[in-house]
Structure formats: structure tokens, C-alpha cells
Symmetry: C2
């Protein structure tokens, strides 16, 4: 199944026969004090650096989140989307918990965006899915609802089915425009959580064939040597059916693990991409 995203001039295809899709996650003020202050002062200059770094690291889509306390998130989203589309040609993922910010971002955006995110909560689906349909976007959907973030993979599959039913039947959204986030949770909190996520990915893949994405770094939260943990998680998740991840493309080890997995899973014909990226790295190191 192919999820197609577009900017004004470029198309990105997410699918099980495609190279893994990195959704660059850095354009987000969460946990970044200086960036928060800059955004409150309506200074978006830092975004130039973030966009350049994410693209240099291999991001194919950029997640844009402007959630800053005590700032006008709606206005910032409009400015950020306009700015990023003026300096890059990759599709964007409009990321907010605020409906008005999603709507403002989508009306400004040129192309077919990804929306981050909806849950199986009835009121969230009622608010967000009409926007997704109206702007012809694709949507990231999380299988939790107002009652629980389920641990059992079977329950996550049930909530996934609920979202699919509502999105396709009530709003006419195409199956291929729904990306499921199977809920990556920190191994440090409970060492059984990642197996549950991997089982969820496999079950959603086998049952629905949908594309999936998740916040890759979540699994390593609170543990030492986080990049090695995530670099070992991604190959397992990709083999189970994960087709993209929201991740910081500046993580060189992580991006290399992802490219090696593309090669191993026969998604890099003749190993051409693997060999090219090795040569580029050698050239950069000897320059």
C-alpha cells in the first residue's frame, strides 16, 4: 500500500516496497528553551538551521510543531509552513494538538500534507478527520482512546480498526491515507513494552497492510546509549512492517542502521544507495 505525500513540486511515497521514510522531527520547540523564546519573540530564523540539518541527514518529510506556551501557535504555524516551503521542497507533517493550528497549517500548505495526529477518541476524530478530508491530507492515527493507552497488541488492533472504520466510512478517507502509530513506549519503564510494540506492528501489517510510523527515540527514553538502542529497534520494527519513523535525522548511527536495513530487506537495488552513502561519507571525511 502506497501513501503519497506532496509538496508543491515533490512527491514522497511511503510503502513496504519503498526505502524507509525518515520524518525529520527537529522543528519542534518541546524541550528547547532558546527556540521557545525565539518563537515567542516571533523569531523563526532557527528553522533555517533545523531544516538544513534534517535534510542533510536524510529526512524525506519534515514534522512541523509550533506548540509554545504563551505564544500564538496558530500564527506561528502559518509562518513556519510558509517559511519552510520557501526554503525546501519536501512534504510536511503538520503536527499539533490544537485543531485551529492544524487547520491554519493545512490551509497555508501547498501540496498533500501529513497530519500528526488523531486518536480513537470520538471527539478528536470528529474534529480532525473532516479537516484531513477537506484538505486531501493523510493522517497519523494512534490506537488509544479517552479510556486507555492499551498495552495489549490485540486491543491496539481493535482501536486501529475503529479509526479505520470511522475515517473511511464516515469521512471517505482512503485506506492508504491512514498511517498507524503503533505506540512506541520506553523500554526503561518496563522491559516488555517494546515486544508489545513489535507485535502490534506485525499484527497491523498482517491484518490491514497499512503504512506505519512512530516516534523512534521514545523506546530509549531514560536509558544510556540511546542511539544504539534505537538503532537496534528500527531493524526489528522495519522487518515487522514499520515503513517510516519520526526521528532526528542528525543521528548518523541511526540513519546508517536504517539504510543498512533497507539494503538487507531488499529495498535498495544492487545496494546502490548504501554504496553511494558510504562514498559520500568517505569524501566528506577526507575533505
Amino acid at each position: 500500500m502506497h501513501t503519497i505525500l506532496r509538496s508543491a513540486s515533490r512527491e514522497v511515497v511511503i510503502g513496504h516496497d519503498q526505502p524507509f521514510c525518515i520524518i525529520g522531527e527537529r522543528i519542534n520547540p518541546t524541550g528547547r528553551k532558546i527556540f521557545q523564546e525565539q518563537l515567542r519573540a516571533n523569531d523563526l530564523s532557527r528553522i533555517h538551521v533545523d531544516v538544513a540539518q534534517q535534510l542533510a541527514g536524510g529526512a524525506m518529510v519534515l514534522d512541523v510543531n509550533m506548540g509554545v506556551p504563551l505564544a500564538d501557535e496558530v500564527a506561528l504555524m502559518v509562518e513556519a509552513v510558509t517559511l519552510i516551503q520557501s526554503i525546501s521542497d519536501v512534504p510536511l507533517c503538520i503536527d499539533s494538538s490544537v485543531i485551529e493550528a492544524l487547520e491554519a497549517g493545512l490551509s497555508t500548505y501547498q501540496g498533500k500534507a501529513l497530519v500528526n495526529s488523531v486518536t480513537a477518541e470520538d471527539d478528536r476524530m470528529e474534529a480532525i478527520l473532516p479537516l484531513v478530508k477537506r484538505f486531501g491530507a493523510a493522517i497519523i492515527a494512534l490506537p488509544n482512546d479517552e479510556f486507555e493507552i492499551p498495552l495489549e497488541p490485540e486491543r491496539r488492533v481493535e482501536l486501529t480498526r475503529k479509526i479505520i472504520d470511522v475515517a473511511t466510512n464516515n469521512y471517505g478517507i482512503a485506506m492508504e491515507d491512514i498511517l498507524i502509530d503503533p505506540l512506541a513506549m520506553p523500554i526503561g519503564a518496563d522491559t516488555s513494552l517494546v515486544v508489545r510494540t513489535l507485535d502490534t506492528i506485525r499484527m497491523i501489517h498482517d491484518e490491514f497492510g497499512l503504512n506505519m510510523t512512530l516516534g523512534a527515540s521514545n523506546v530509549s527514553f531514560g536509558m544510556p546509549d540511546r542511539e544504539t538502542i534505537v538503532s537496534s529497534f528500527l531493524p526489528m520494527a522495519m522487518r515487522s512492517g514499520l515503513t517510516s519513523a519520526i526521528m532526528d535525522a542528525r543521528g548518523a548511527q541511526l540513519v546508517r542502521a536504517m539504510k543498512a536495513t533497507d539494503l538487507l530487506l531488499n529495498r535498495d537495488e544492487w545496494g546502490a544507495s548504501w554504496i553511494a552513502s558510504h562514498r559520500a561519507r568517505q569524501a566528506a571525511e577526507s575533505a
Copy 2:
């Protein structure tokens, strides 16, 4: 299913609920000219260094291969096994294509050894399986025969079934003493080969529940940045059912990927082993 190996004083358990078992692969003259010359001159001193390095890297079992052209492999195997058991307490994997070397190694060895390896060829099984039974050893079995190294996972499963039938019915070898090598082949030769190996691992796991091992570095042969390729392969193979690998424990990135995967697959309670190895590395770096 638990495969138990023993030295004179130590037991190692291989199983799906156990930490991954590294079989250190360096005590082998293949491709090592200086070591070959030393062994021809009956100088086994290099083995002290190899054993120390493999153990320092985390090897839990040591593979011992003394196959040197124009040397007395049988005598060397006896000397090597005696030497290694005098300087370390880990179980050994007696590795040779020469029946007499296997027999000599096994008669010298104190404990329950692993034997590397038998195939589904009738004459190999007739020669090797009686030795395995006589010395109470465990055996690595490769699902190829005199006619083919099959590419199709289904055919590898058939040959696995043949070996299991012969080993258990004709020679009374226990199921848990059979480790299957699902045949890791180079991604550089054909980018579909590793998916076949992963499928084979999954099928053998689901059908027989046996432990498995393989030569991990094979998958990266001929490609640049081999360690990243193998570090991405191992998590997928472990998730599919691989429980040990013959690998060079000096590869720090590889060993860390393996330990991270143990953590992620819930085989490292509280993450204690992961955190301890991080602290040990920090201490070594600041020393």
C-alpha cells in the same frame, strides 16, 4: 528449548528466553597468514591473545578451528583444545571439516562441546552424528546437501527436518542438542538473500522451536561498512528466532547492537546488563 553446553566448570544455556550467545570466531587460521605459519611451526602462542580478546568482548563460547594446509590438523586440534581449556573456562565449539579432527578434539575436550558442523549429506551425517552421540555433544547442522545449497526457505526447512529425523531417530540425539544454521549469505551477491535467511529462521523457529546459530559476518561480505550491516542484521535475526551467532567478539558496535536487542526483546531484566556494560565502558574510557 534449552541447549546446554559445558566446560569442566561452567555451563552456558542457549535459548529463546536467554541472553544471546556469542560464539567467538577468531581462533581460526582461515585468512590469517601469520597465524597459519605459526601453527605450521607448532607455535600456538597467538591463541592466548585471541582467547583473551574474545572473552573481553563478551564471547560465551569459543569456536576452535585448526584447519591449516600442510599441517597436522588432528594434532593441532588436540593441543589447541588442551591449551584453551587450561586458560579459560568457557565451553568450546569444535570446528572442522575433517572427521578425525572432530573426533580428536572431542576426546580431548572436558565437558559438553558443540560440534561445527554437519550437513544433510548422508555420508556426513553417518560420519559425524555417531561422534556427537558418543561424546554427548551438541551439533550445528546446515540445511544443505550433496545436491544443493537451497535458496528457498521451504527447502531449507525440509532439509532441517531430514537432519532432525536422522539425528533423533537413528542416533538418539536430543532435539535440544541440534542447533540449525539457517545459512547466512552475502547481501552483495543478491539483495534478496538475507530476506530468505530471515524467513528461514522464522519458519524453523515456528515449526521446530530449535536454537539456531550462523556466521553473522557472512551477510556483509564484499560491502562497505560491514559492521553496521551486521549490526542491523542481528536484531532482525534475533527477533525472528536466532539465539546465537558465530562472530568476532572484538566488534564493539556489533556486540552493543546484540546487547541492545537483548534489552529490547525483554531478555535483560531491569536493563541491568545494558546499564552495567555502559558503566564499564565509561570507566574504561575515563581510565
